[in-house]
Amino acid sequence: MNNASQEQHFSHDYWVDKLAAIATNEDRQAFAELFDYFAPKIKAYMLTGKAGYISPEAADELVQESMIKVWRKAASYHPMKARVSTWIFTIARNCRIDSLRRSRPEISLDTDDIWVDMTSDETPLVSLQQQRSQRIVQEQLEQLPDEQRQVLYKVYMEGKSHSEIADDMDLPLGTVKSRVRLAMKKLALTVDR
């Protein structure tokens, strides 16, 4: 299984190649590697989510659903548009949202996935800006002070609102908000509207 030191050895390109092997040759060995690495992370994400009360069995089920989508959609992955971890995160997140939808009709094939990826239509300029922005996020996220990182973790992994985070961490709401704001600023993700 994976441990922290092992994770360092996997570069982004490593997983891009694995996905390509799945897409072109239905490469099961590549998929097994991807599964061993990402499935536990997906499970942990499912268990920490706002639906934190889901059982480990339900989380396992969501892991299965997510990884089936990874298998099926491997051909639609574009390395220029998103990192593999981000792509898998969005698949897992969409599965989690779908799990909250009661009695959704089981329509077969391509139509059962309502969360269609629109990024393949972007203009080259948008794609370039996108890549730049992703690089900044990647680099800066590693540099964030723990207190800001921790707040982002609660927002993105635990799906908590700012006031829930304030309760959790026993901090004033204003402090939580300003930590999020500072973090977003460092990641160059503030929008002025």
Partner: protein
């Protein structure tokens, strides 16, 4: 170009996966119209992806999880890695997320009359808290003054409408807070089709309040 966008709160919560299904769907429908928000959300998703990737994982999967998955993949031809049968839109000007949900042409879904020139149809999302509706307003028709008991989000799908605060066109994402009163009017030259998400029914304040029971929430 879209003029009204979801604020950062909606985009953040969408990216993090903490919006309810119906709200996720209406935000996603806006994203399909709006490259600007789409780009922002992609960066936010990268925070999620990176954090997910870097988290210290203490959970384990069942021993046979991968075997089970491969067996599932083998048993269902639709799970093959080859491209599945292509989805064909029923309404090709609607956001894909919505078109897939309703999965039939607009004139084949059940519409109910709410007032003269105003029809609505529930969109089946499976969300148990937030209701998603489509509203069809005849060109030039005014919607009676009403107030919202909870925040209501409206996304313009076709045509445009206006109220005291502005004019809203295709792709615009308009948020009305609980308690705000307004009386939107569809533009003269074209019918207006909107998608709206609300946690509780809107309440008509004038004569039309008699209709209120019809609007009682019944998430589909």
């Amino acid at each position: 170009m879209t003029a009204y966008h979801p604020d950062t709160r909606y985009l953040n919560d969408y990216a993090a996966g903490s919006l309810s299904p119906a709200l996720s769907i209406i935000v996603k429908a806006h994203l399909e119209h709006c490259p600007e928000c789409r780009q922002h959300v992609q960066s936010l998703e990268q925070i999620g992806g990176t954090l997910m990737n870097q988290q210290k994982v203490a959970v384990t999967l069942p021993e046979n999880a991968l075997d089970k998955l491969m067996a599932k993949i083998d048993s269902e031809p639709k799970h093959s890695a080859t491209p599945p049968i292509k989805y064909r839109p029923n309404n090709d000007d609607l956001p894909v997320v919505l078109d897939k949900l309703i999965s039939r042409p607009l004139n084949k879904i059940g519409w109910k009359k709410l007032a003269r020139g105003l029809n609505f149809s529930r969109v089946p999302t499976g969300d148990q808290e937030v209701e998603l509706m489509m509203y069809h307003i005849k060109a030039g028709r005014k919607i009676p003054m009403h107030t919202h008991k909870a925040d209501e989000i409206t996304l313009v799908l076709r045509g445009s409408f206006s109220d005291a605060d502005g004019v809203y066109k295709k792709g615009d994402f308009v948020v009305r807070s609980a308690g705000e009163q307004h009386s939107p009017i569809a533009t003269q030259d074209e019918d207006c089709l909107c998608l709206a998400a609300q946690a509780q029914p809107i309440a008509f304040t004038g004569m039309l309040r008699l209709l209120n029971p019809m609007l009682s929430i019944k998430p589909s």
